[in-house]
Symmetry: C2
């Protein structure tokens, strides 16, 4: 186990009508907030009106900025930072999923910073201060409601970068599983894939003696696998929606990643894919992850065997270790297919070959990955394996 | 799943030399702290000197109060509160295990309170304010380094009561597994029993649809079961000590108890035992818990079957459900014995019969327990089953 520091100071309020807690919690954002959201779905559902009502009850002043797109873009963040400074905003309320929250976190670190917010993503600067961010979650997937990270795309250079700091962790997250009833099967499945990926990116490590975090991770994935077919069959299955919603958060606070080297290579390989083609992050992951697993498995076959045996109940067969590992990957891929996810680039609608461009972008800082350091050839091999 | 609120704002610093982080973290306790500890072990080990050195480096003023006993007592807490007020103490540093931390938390809520601190334990008052508490952990067991609770004994009435508030959660906890190398096998085993109990008290519930927390709890118990024989065989096995230390914390932050009714009946039954006989809490739990399980299992046999199958790998045998459940309890009891814990009152050294007195005290607020509401007869039956 590697030494670690961990803090997760978010106040979570979970359950039916959780969003009502905004009346009490909003004071943590100060007296004048930026209400940040995406498209019209929160207006259609009535959530928007309720949020405005709660904020009015709390006596909070509100400036609005909607229209955040999936894979939030740098230009919108920069605009929002200017707006917040001009309006004297004291905190940001994100109502939505990972894109809205990541955008809110980016604004939160940008407002008190002298330079350009992109410095935090390019690695030129470290976060020293941030406005408080509160969340009303509507899409369980990214785990941004409890995490220390934010991912933003610079649309000019098609670069999708991440920044991380505990100062970005939301001060509160209000989580009502009923708000997720209206998610489409596709959105739901993308979310499921994303949350499972967040566990797997921590699970596949070469760090030894990580028994507790291994088992916590397996617990999370198995729970998601149990709940997934239930929500696909009945989108209003409260209990299954609740399991997924809380699982998405726990998967990404980092409680399953403590004390171990993690491996975000597949996430990065997917980021290049979604930066090029603007595909949904979850769908991209369902394509990239099994290919990555297949490509790197022999670096630490024991770990892939453990995954197969403990998560997918594959029988361990002495002398056929690689088959055991591969059977785990096969079942994992079949699970994605069972919830309607694409597991090949062609199923994702990617028919041209930009592997070289994407691999170059992925290699910008040299070889990357924890379990196996990937070269450009590795990345191209993974895209090729993902062709299907 | 039941609606819940959850916050765990403690900054955990985990690993070799974690206590050095005190130099940086101590400012969270303000400028003048109460250094609170137990017996001489931290002086013998050199930890005491290092702590003083770190505090001096940080420029923190220090008032000392050592001598906290296992099962901390109300009179010491009251004395400490007076001392803190007289000295203008701004925060409390607990160096030790659960007893020292619980005592520190009690002082922390008592200092800013107008009335008697016992009001928080008797249920007469709710915590509205607390001094910050920091922790350097030396005994992994109680989980108090991350929990919202404190247990104190009123030695005059032999009453052991608990109080809970998120305001009591430590602001930081510094956790170095090497500090636990010198724990005796008995202390180690008591700690193991305590941390497992904290999971089981949440696990045995009638709340339905708690898939994630079930699996997280099973993950914790299985990890502790894996690590236990390693530390018993080699007290300086860093990796196994590390697993136990972090498991003890996660077991009691409440992450495995969210969204479900819990059941602290066995804890309460043990508290009466340790209030009467001053036995180690962990050892008392090893005696009481299997008896409680045996007595209540038919209230929710399915849950005891799940425990047997998933934690102890018992084969589920159709038509022999009760035997499946009992086999789980049997293996659990055998595990306690394998680490040198007593599993009967006689092995604990309790030879007289005060069941009636203890049951009366346990019943002070009427029937208690989540999975099964226990009557006085139930409590006596459990003590009787525990005779061995």
């Amino acid at each position: 186990m590697i030494d670690f520091r961990f803090i997760s100071p978010t106040q979570f309020v979970f359950g039916r009508n959780a969003e009502e807690a905004l009346i009490k919690e909003s004071s943590k954002l100060g007296g004048k907030i930026l209400l940040h959201y995406g498209g019209g779905s929160i207006k259609n559902s009535g959530l928007y009106d309720r949020v405005k009502e709660y904020l009015a009850k709390a006596g909070t002043k509100v400036v609005e900025l909607g229209g955040v797109k999936p894979n939030p873009v740098l230009s919108t963040v920069r605009e929002a930072i200017d707006l917040c400074r001009a309006e004297g905003i004291t905190g940001i309320l994100a109502v939505g999923g990972g894109s809205v929250i990541d955008s809110a976190k980016s604004i939160a670190i940008g407002v008190p910073y002298d330079g350009d917010v992109w410095d935090f993503y390019s690695g030129k600067a470290t976060v020293a201060e941030a406005l408080p961010v509160g969340v009303i979650l509507t899409i369980p997937a990214a785990g941004s409601e409890g995490s220390n990270g934010s991912v933003v795309t610079d649309e000019d250079t098609r670069s999708k970068f991440a920044s991380g700091s505990d100062l970005m962790r939301p001060v509160f997250s209000l989580m009502n599983p009923e708000l997720t009833f209206t998610l489409s099967p596709y959105q739901t499945a993308c979310g499921i894939t994303d949350m499972i990926s967040h566990v797997m990116e921590r699970y596949f490590t070469n760090t030894e003696d990580v028994g507790l975090t291994d088992r916590l991770g397996e617990a999370l994935i198995r729970t998601v696998i149990d709940a997934a077919p239930k929500v696909m069959a009945d989108p209003e299955d409260y209990e299954a929606r609740a399991e997924l919603m809380w699982a998405s958060t726990v998967a990404h606070t980092d409680i399953v990643g403590l004390g171990r080297e993690d491996d975000w290579a597949s996430h990065q390989i997917e980021h290049e894919l979604s930066a090029q083609y603007d595909v949904a992050h979850g769908a991209g992951l369902a394509v990239v992850f099994p290919a990555w697993m297949t490509h790197v498995r022999k670096e630490n076959l024991e770990r892939f065997i453990q995954f197969a045996v403990r998560v997918w109940d594959v029988d361990y067969v002495a002398g056929r270790e690689d088959e055991t590992a591969l059977e785990g990957i096969r079942r994992h891929k079949a699970f994605y297919e069972s919830i309607g996810m694409p597991t090949s680039l062609s199923a994702l609608g990617v028919t041209d070959n930009r592997y070289d461009i994407m691999a170059d972008k992925a290699m910008r800082d040299g070889p990357f990955g924890g379990l196996k350091k990937l070269s450009k050839e590795d990345v191209i091999a993974i895209y090729t394996l993902a062709e299907g």
